[in-house]
Symmetry: C2
Subunit: 305 residues, 2 copies
Amino acid sequence: MSLVHERYLSRTERAVAIMAREEPVVYEGGAYADALDAQTLASYEKNGFLVLDGVFDDTETQALLDEVVRLSNDPVIRRREEAVTERGSDVVRSVFAVHKLSQKLAALARDPRLLDVARQILGSEVYLHQTRANLKPGFTGKEFYWHSDFETWHVEDGMPRMRALSCSVLLTDNTACNGPLMLMPGSHLHFISCKGETPEENYKSSLKKQETGIPDELSLQLLAEQGGVHAATARPGSVIFFDCNTMHGSSSNISPWPRANVFMVYNSMENTLGDPKYGLAPRPEHIATREAFEPLKPLRQPEYQ
Amino acid sequence: MSLVHERYLSRTERAVAIMAREEPVVYEGGAYADALDAQTLASYEKNGFLVLDGVFDDTETQALLDEVVRLSNDPVIRRREEAVTERGSDVVRSVFAVHKLSQKLAALARDPRLLDVARQILGSEVYLHQTRANLKPGFTGKEFYWHSDFETWHVEDGMPRMRALSCSVLLTDNTACNGPLMLMPGSHLHFISCKGETPEENYKSSLKKQETGIPDELSLQLLAEQGGVHAATARPGSVIFFDCNTMHGSSSNISPWPRANVFMVYNSMENTLGDPKYGLAPRPEHIATREAFEPLKPLRQPEYQ
């Protein structure tokens, strides 16, 4: 792809820049599926995220939490490359590709309460670009600095356009005290070009601590002063949907309480991956689906018991 | 002092322990001065802290913030030992002994809105054990792990009893997004003995990152499950008073907004310092007042312009 057609240039030695988003946020006017009402959809379009309370009831949430704890304690899984540990410890921070490792979490990805929201917003059939279970441990949970997921997916995975969204199913209480997800409202409308080249196999360290693809402080300040910063505090069973280009991060967690969620990325079937930029090798399949792009079918009566 | 009379043993190789507080929280029934009403006083006694909103008006708060920024940018002060920088940078994190470096902050320490609360709770005349201005920078503000100030002051400064309190005058907005002070309600009623000996000149590193006097995770969990964790989010001009033995800490601050406050420790004139424990050398005067214990006189009309 020539630079002439490169909309969202990043990770070069050129000066940083803020570029206006070129794609819609809600595709096809939100008519593709029927999940959110017009007002909720408009709020997502404006802010770039949405926090829906009580999507899953207590029984469902407990069953999902049990499943995540089981996965992260499973010695076989802990030895697989899907398991990522905290810096300087063997505490599991994330398990990737959980839709392949767990039938329950595969069902979760097809739950219409999630999937139909994704289909409605993205205006097409969708597939799973990435899934993971996150367990931010108590006492020693590290911060995750500001980033746009799309910036990484565009450069490192060759995702062409902003037509993907993430959903985080909260399995524990997310309070001001345990490092909740923080999002910048309106930031999804701007692409922050990041300075600095990407090393090969960057994903091996970047999943623990991001060193490239880091937005500059002035751009972050501009986004924060325009739209503020929203700490997504919410009860277990709530779901946060956010656009692939929404700036987000989280502080450290010194509270005794771990923070657990299942995180899934839906990408449009009209937006499947091309080659990574700058001749980078593709990231492994458990981080970015590439071998087969299969549209997900809603599962009408998912059960998590 | 023989071990027989040592109430609050800490920093030894003995196993950790939780000891019940032996002293009152509010002395003399709160009759020594007239600042807080009975209900507010009872809340402080129960929780070990108090957040008072809007103690200082916007004009006063701005003048105090200007003064703190001036101090931390003053090249002469930046070179003094009173100035503590962030780990791995030359950004000023704290300036100590601000009541000696600034007339305005000396006046603040004698403001009856603060001083009379201290005199009322501690039931006696009081002096300044320590003062500092804290500037937690945006983007890179580091976390401060859980600790009881009394644990440090008892061991490293030879403060005999729990008859001191801290007050933090908030000069910027403290939100869920910028690493607010977190306190454990009720924790002031328990002394958590910490394991591990104290190295000489520990203060030089401990003010940046605490390595000794760290409570164990099980005790912290117990305190947190008994009383919860309270994130003291509040507007500029608010004041947090907290007991010397209240467990507190703060998360990192990745928001663009710095968090600034003036922090002052009032100690009872009946509780002046003895020798540090274990033959440790006394900490410098700017960290722990020792040369002269002078009772503070309320200043009837403090001005900060």
